[in-house]
Amino acid sequence: MKLVLESLKKAAIPAVVAAATTLGLSAPAMAEWSPKKPVELIIMAGAGGGADQIARLLQGLIETKKLSPRPIIPINKAGGSGAEALRYIQDKKGDDHTILVTLNSFYTTPVIQKGIGVDVSNFTPIGRMAVDNFLLWVNSEMTDITDLDSYVAAVKAAGTGWKVGGTGTGQEDSILTAMMEKEFGYDVTYIPFPGGGTVAKNLVGKHIDSTVNNPAEQSEFFRAGNTKPLVQFTAERLPAYPDVPTANELGVNMEYYMQRSINGPPGMSAEAQEWYINLFEQLFNSEEWQKFCVEDGLACDTYLSGDALGQYHQDQIALHKELIESVGASAITGE
């Protein structure tokens, strides 16, 4: 053990010296990097959805806490299940003033829509802010449906007449829907909407039969008694929904999560990346953010940043490729 430490020290000394010299030269420049103009915070989904709410909350916190010398401007680019946003970021190569807040279409859209020519593994990872959860929701007026079994029975009886609403085709809602179709052996009609908020509204208005909304998108309707959750696709029951069983408890091996992370365009400068990593770490640890996570049923235990987040992205890309292959891209896109 000691030996290891010794050799580490030996190796470390020149490295530290070298680093110090470079630091000495560039330290002022590094310390001084901060946005020189307004920063675009691109949201790859429509207004009112989960990603949008998060982006606007983060923007607000940055402003109230005066963490950035220049304003952060959230911009929605929802087109094509996030393809528009991904392409936009890819084309901003080397730009230090554009960042992206993601959902899982960050992984799936480039796989399903090869035509857009985006490779997200080249993007600059900044920080993972939260992991979001999924629940299965129906309108409270569906009194016949009380649990997963009665739900599956109802869907099977309705066949393709059963309408599941969700966000864009190829996004997480459609993947989870395809996973359920495969697991229970039924076929539903999937209808894409521009954002989670609109999906929720259409469930309350009974234009669709069920959704796999995130907790944040349904919590107010749930509190008002308009909708009810049947099952959660998590490892443990969420504190906000103690009475709703997880799929695992019911003997169905199905878990699915969605990361909410911040990423920069390919080739963002290391100084800028560092500045954003620190910025979002401060936000992550803030009381307001942690409170938001609890209220909205998000998991915010560990802040992954930089290379660790890059590795996490790699794993998730592999997982999603596998998922898409197993259910078939056509089951997701409905083509």
Binding site: Q53, R56, G79, G168, A200
Partner: protein
């Protein structure tokens, strides 16, 4: 009822508190300025000023932002009328008749009508909001994709069924707009469409302001340069108290259609994803359809200025309804307001009315005050705004040109859109020379994506059965009205022709 009045009284008292009242006045003035600047609409304004609101309590903050929103709706009309450049997307329809009026030397009349109509729209909508918020929210919930599509059809029908215009040319113009609306990524499958090989700039679609600013800003400039041959033209605008009185008296000419447009605007505003721009265009179409003199629309009819202005203010109030009761923004601007509410620790949703009554009623109260404040500020400044028109056109033209370029660049910040805007300007000028109406194309590019999405969602949910549009009562009603609007002018034309042919045949 009594309960509502008590709440409203409380809200009004809250809005009159010194801090809140200052916020209203400040917000209205900033909004006017933001709305009047091409390329800087209420969305940007509210987004830029959102952080300032963290310094004051939530009620004062939302009042401030709502006042900006309101002010911007008034302000958008100013550059639409005086310069012919839509100040914001919500004010595009105001250009249709506002600009011709200004060119004929009646800018003061147009501006007064815009202000008065905005006031009417704002007042009607806020009264509707006060009295019927919960039932209207419930009604908005009944609007699924099929109903949305039927409503869009109705909007197109009001434009086709316009008595005066050449129907084939109108349809042609709508189709051009629809084709332009499909450019970009497909909304359902995400595949790129009509991007001309692989031109990046087309991926985000064709921004509607790029088309509108091109056609109206650049196209008009070319047209005016041609017709005046560079002669120095100075519009004499006299402002006097008696003139002002006469302008206010114009209200008799448009009160009817304006009230109707306000109700329509409010309702369209409550539908998620629609917002004030479609509302203003639909209201314009409605005013023209019901007008005794539809031929004069587009050539300087005062009701053509009033209708869209009333609707865009009404819609801005309307879009707050789903924001407060459902937590869903009815327009891009309310999406930002919604974000603000979340940051202030409020949870918009069905329970906000009961859990945070002071906040909701404070906001409603402030809308009444903001409405009154903006109309007074606006009318007071009209003499100043019309001064712009006393500039010779040789000086105005370069200013208009620069504002157009800025306005075209601002929404997406790509040069691609600036070139596109210049191209649209030239095309718009040629279309005008050939006597094609361009307003329907503008309408189509706004409503096209909404109509396409709702059509495809409806057909997905009905498994391809078209009957979904006629078996649902709201949607069927809209479609019947739409068909009537399209066929009535056709019928009238033929019956007139027969009447005209008859004596000739007998003689």
């Amino acid at each position: 009822m009594e309960e509502i009045l008590i709440h409203l009284g409380g809200g009004l008292a809250q809005a009159m508190e010194p801090l809140n009242f200052t916020m209203i006045i400040l917000g209205c003035m900033l909004g006017l300025l933001i709305g009047a600047m091409p390329g800087l609409g209420s969305v940007n304004g509210v987004a830029i000023l959102l952080p300032i609101t963290f310094l004051v309590p939530p009620t004062a903050a939302i009042i401030f932002l709502a006042a900006i929103y309101y002010g911007a709706m008034y302000g958008g009309a100013i550059s639409s009328i005086t310069l012919g450049i839509p100040g914001a997307s919500t004010a595009v329809a105001t250009v249709f008749d506002g600009r011709p009026l200004a060119q004929a030397g009646h800018a003061d009349r147009a501006l007064t009508a815009a202000a008065v109509a905005s006031f009417i729209g704002g007042t009607i909508s806020v009264v509707l909001f006060t009295l019927f918020a919960p039932p209207l929210a419930a009604f908005a919930l009944r609007f699924g994709p099929a109903e949305e599509f039927a409503l869009m059809l109705l909007a197109f029908a009001t434009f086709i069924g316009l008595g005066g215009d050449d129907i084939p040319k109108t349809v042609f113009s709508i189709l051009i707009g629809l084709v332009l609306a499909t450019v970009g990524l497909d909304i359902i499958s995400g595949q790129p469409r009509l991007i001309f090989g692989d031109i990046d700039g087309f991926l985000h679609g064709i921004n509607f302001l790029v088309l509108a600013i091109g056609i109206y800003g650049i196209g008009e400039m070319l047209w005016t340069l041609e017709t005046t041959q560079g002669k120095v033209t100075v519009h004499k605008v006299k402002m006097s108290v008696s003139q002002m009185k006469r302008n206010l008296g114009d209200v008799k000419q448009y009160i009817g259609t304006t009230s109707l447009g306000s109700v329509l605007g409010y309702f369209v505003g409550t539908l998620p994803a629609a917002g004030a721009t479609p509302a203003s265009l639909m209201s314009y179409g409605l005013a023209k359809t019901f007008s005794k003199d539809p031929e004069s629309f587009g050539k300087g009819n005062i009701a053509g200025v009033a209708a869209p202005e009333a609707a865009n203010n009404a819609a801005s109030t309307g879009s707050m309804l789903p924001m407060i009761t459902l937590g869903i923004p009815g327009s891009p601007t309310t999406a930002i307001l919604l974000g603000g509410m979340i940051i202030w620790g409020l949870r918009p949703g069905p329970l906000l009315f009961t859990e945070n009554p002071e906040f909701v009623w404070g906001l409603i109260g402030s809308l009444y005050i903001a409405n009154l404040a903006t109309v007074i500020i606006n009318i007071a400044f009209i003499p100043l705004f019309v001064k712009v028109l006393t500039c010779p056109f040789t000086i105005l033209a370069p200013i208009i040109y620069i504002l157009c370029v800025v306005g075209g660049y601002a929404p997406t910040q790509t040069m691609h859109d600036v070139w596109l805007m210049l191209l649209f300007g030239i095309v718009g000028y040629l279309l005008r020379k050939l006597n094609y109406p361009v307003a329907p194309a503008v309408l189509a590019i706004v409503l096209g994506p909404l109509a396409e999405r709702s059509l495809r969602q409806s057909l997905l949910s009905s498994q391809g059965e078209l009957s979904i549009f006629v078996t649902r009562p709201i949607s069927a009603t809209c479609i019947v009205i739409a068909l009537a609007l399209v066929f009535y002018p056709v019928y009238k034309k033929f019956s007139n022709k027969r009447a005209a042919d008859m004596p000739a045949a007998s003689g």
